[in-house]
Amino acid sequence: MLEYFLSLLILTGAIFTFIGSLGLLRLKDFYMRLHGPTKATTLGVGSLLIASAVFFSSRDAGVSLHEVLITLFLFITAPVSAHLLAKAALHLNLHSHAKIPVNSAHPVEDKDSEIDGARLAAPTKENNSSDISPPHKSV
C-alpha cells in the first residue's frame, strides 16, 4: 500500500517537473515562460521531496526531516527569484505577446479618452522612427 502511494507521489512529481520544463521550452515570450518553472516545477519537486520523506521515515527509525528543510527553502525562494527575474526582464524592456488591456471605465467613444488615445499613439509612431523621443507630449 505504501509502495503504491510512494509511486504515485514520485510519478506526480516527475510529471509536474516535466510539464514545468516543457513550459519553459514551448511558451512564446519570457513572461509566459516564467510561469512554468516557478509553479509547476516547484510543485513537482515538493511532491518528490514528500515521497522521499515518507520513504526514509518508513525505512529508518524516526522521522526524516531533511526534506522538509529543502521543501521550505524552495517554497520560500522560488517566488523571490521569480520576482527578481520579472523585474530584470521589465528593466531590459523584453517583448511581451500580451495585449494591452481595454480601459472599460472610459470607453473609446468618450471624448477625453480619444484625446488620450491620440496622445498615447503619437509617441509610439515617433518611437518607430527614432529611438530617442520624449515619452509624453501634451496636446
Binding site: L8, I10, L24, L49, L85
Partner: protein
Amino acid sequence: MLDFAITVAFGLVTMAVGMCCWRLLRGPSTPDRILALDTLYVNAIALLMLLGIHLGNALFFEAALLIALMGFIGTVALCKYLLRGDIIE
C-alpha cells in the same frame, strides 16, 4: 512498482533537464538563460532526491540542500547584475 516509478521519473526529469539546457543555449534574452539555470538547479535537486530513494542513501539530502542554497544565491546575484549593473554596491 517503486522501481518502475523511479525509472519513469528518471526519464521524465532527464528530459526536463534536456529542455532546460536547450533554453539555456538558445534563449533569446539573458533573463531566459537565468530562468533556465534556475530550473536546472531545481531539476538537479529532483534528480538527487530520486537517486537517494533509488540507492536508499540519505546522504544526498546534504548535497541537495547545498545546491538549493547556492542556486538561489546565484539567481539573485545574476538578476541583481542585470538590474543594477553591479552585484554588491
